[in-house]
C-alpha cells in the first residue's frame, strides 16, 4: 500500500498502482489517470463505460471484466478497444478508481 497524489488529492494505491478505495475517486482523478494511460481526452463514450464499471463494481463487488463490460453496457468489443486501446478492462478499472478485474473473459 502506498499513497499517491493524483490531481492534487492523496489517494491509496496498491503495488500495481490501482486505487484501493473507490470512495477517494473523483472525476479529476479519472482525467489525470487517463492521461497517464495515453488517453488525452475523456469523451462522453469513455464516461459511459467508466460510470458503468463503477456502478457494476459497487453493486456486485466485482470489477467487470472485458466481456462483463461489453455485455453489460452494450458497447461493442471493437468500440471498447478503440476507446481504451491496449487492454481496455484494466485501463477502465484504473481510470475508474477500481481494482484489477478478476476473471478470464
Amino acid at each position: 500500500m502506498a499513497v499517491k497524489t493524483i490531481a492534487g488529492k492523496e489517494v491509496q494505491v496498491n503495488e500495481e498502482g490501482y486505487m484501493t478505495n473507490p470512495a477517494e475517486w473523483t472525476k479529476e482523478i479519472a482525467v489525470e489517470i487517463a492521461k497517464e494511460e495515453g488517453i488525452a481526452e475523456l469523451t462522453p463514450e469513455h464516461w459511459k463505460i467508466i460510470e458503468f464499471c463503477r456502478e457494476a463494481a459497487s453493486s456486485s463487488g466485482a470489477v467487470p471484466t472485458l466481456r462483463a463490460i461489453t455485455s453489460g453496457s452494450g458497447v461493442s468489443t471493437k468500440d471498447l478497444f478503440a476507446l481504451f486501446p491496449k487492454g481496455p478492462a484494466k485501463k477502465v478499472a484504473r481510470i475508474a478508481g477500481l481494482g484489477k478485474p478478476e476473471g478470464c473473459v
Binding site: 472485458l66 466481456r67 468489443t77 478497444f81 486501446p85 487492454g87 484494466k90 473473459v105
Partner: protein
C-alpha cells in the same frame, strides 16, 4: 516497460473442442493485457475457423484418460470404460456435456470467442499447406480470417513474438 509491444502468436493444430479453447482463452487474456495477438490455424485446427465446422467441435471420450465420470456428478475418479466410449452417441454426449458446463459458466462459444478476438484486434491466418490438403478456400472460413499464408510467411510476421503451439 519495453518500447516494443509484447507479441504472442498461437499455432492451433487441434480441432477437438477441448483443444480449441487454450488459444482462445490465452489470446483474449493477452489482448486484455495490451499484447498483440496472431493466431495461425493449421491442420485439424482449421476446424475452428471453418464456417461449417466451428459450431460442431466435439470431444471424444475414447483414449482420453482424464475424462472421468465425476463430470456427470458421480463422485471419485471412476473412469469411463473405453468400450463405452465407442458406443454411438458417446462423443456427442460428452461434447454436449462440456458445452453445457461452459455455458453455465458464461464461457463464450468458439465462434463467439473468435469474433471477440477479431474485434479486439487479433489477427487470424490459415495455413496454406493444410488449406490445399483439405481442399478449402478462403470463403470456407469465418469472417476475420485475414489470409491464407505459408509457414514461411508466418515466421516473417511473428518476428519477435512468443510462439505457443497447441
Amino acid at each position: 516497460m519495453a518500447d516494443e509491444p509484447r507479441k504472442i502468436a498461437f499455432i492451433c493444430s487441434k480441432g477437438n473442442l477441448d483443444m480449441a479453447y487454450p488459444a482462445l482463452v490465452m489470446g483474449w487474456a493477452a489482448l486484455g493485457n495490451g499484447i498483440d495477438v496472431t493466431i495461425f490455424f493449421t491442420f485439424w485446427g482449421m476446424d475452428m475457423i471453418n464456417k461449417a465446422r466451428v459450431d460442431h467441435l466435439e470431444i471424444p471420450p475414447v483414449a482420453n484418460a482424464s475424462m472421468k465420470m465425476n463430470m456427470m456428478g458421480i463422485p471419485g475418479y471412476i473412469g469411463i470404460p473405453q468400450i463405452l466410449g465407442i458406443i454411438p452417441g458417446m462423443t456427442p454426449f460428452a461434447s454436449w456435456l462440456m458445452k453445457k458446463k461452459m455455458k453455465g459458466l458464461n464461457i463464450p462459444t468458439v465462434r463467439e470467442y473468435l469474433e471477440m478476438l477479431v474485434d479486439g484486434g487479433a489477427k487470424l491466418y490459415a495455413c496454406k499447406m493444410s488449406v490445399d490438403m483439405f481442399g478449402l478456400k478462403k470463403e470456407d472460413f469465418i469472417d476475420g480470417v485475414i489470409d491464407i499464408v505459408t509457414a514461411s510467411d508466418f515466421m516473417d510476421m511473428t518476428e519477435g513474438s512468443q510462439i505457443i503451439f497447441i
